[in-house]
Amino acid sequence: MKIRYFAWLREHIGTSSEDIPLDQTCRTVSDLVAFLSARSVGHRHALSDMTLVRVAVNHVYVDIDHPITAGDEVAFFPPVTGG
C-alpha cells in the first residue's frame, strides 16, 4: 500500500511517501491511522488530530471509516489552500 503525505504532515513525518505492507487488521482509514501512528513520533504527532487532516483514497476524498485494500494509494494532508 502506498501512503502519501503533503504540506505540514509531510514535514512532521519526514517523508512524502512510503510503501507499507497492508496489515490484516487495517480494514478502514481509521485502522490505518492507528497503525501509522505507531511507526514514529512524527507519525503520531501528524495524525493526532484527524479533524485537521483530509484523507484521499486513490485520489478521491473519503471519510475516516472508508474501507481500504492492499492496492490503494492513501494520502493524508491538511485542508487545501490553493488558488
Binding site: 503533503f6 504540506a7 488558488g83
Partner: protein, 169 residues
Amino acid sequence: MTIRIQEDDFDLASIYAELRAPLSPPAASTAQEGTLSVGTLSAGAISLFIGLVRDINDDQRIDAMTLEHYPGMTEAKLTAIRDQAMRRWQLGKAIIIHRVGKLYPNDQIVLVGATSPHRHAACDATAFMMDYLKTEAPFWKSEQTTDGNTKWVASRDSDMTARSRWQKT
C-alpha cells in the same frame, strides 16, 4: 489544453486568444442541439479570473510563497470541477491553469476562464470553478514572511461558505 498545472508563468493574451477563437462547427453542434444556435461559433461572453500572489497575508508582509500539490489527484480534481461547470452552464470553453513551485508577490498563481453565449453563465461558471478549486483541489501554500519565517497557510471558513452557495437545494 483545458487543465494545466505548471511551474512556468502563463500568458493571459494567448489564453484569451484560445478562448476567443470561434468553436469549430462540430464542437458547436455538440454544444447545443436542436436549435438554430447550433451554428453559434462566436462566444459572446468571456469571463476571466486571475489570482496573484499578495504582498500581505494575515497582516504579515510576504517575501515569497511555495505551492505544493498532489500530482495525479490535482489533475483529476480540476478536470472534475471543470466538467461540473460544463454540465451546469451552457459553456463554449472552460480553462483552469494553476502554478506550483516558488512564487513572489504579484506573480500570477491561477487563471480560470469560461466562454458562453450568455454573460451570467460565463461569470457564474468562473466563480464556481474558483470556489471549488479553493476547497477541493489539492494545493498547499507555504509563505515566507519578511521576518524570515515560513508557515503553512491556513484554510479559510469563508472558502467553504463560498462553495456551499452552489449547492442546489
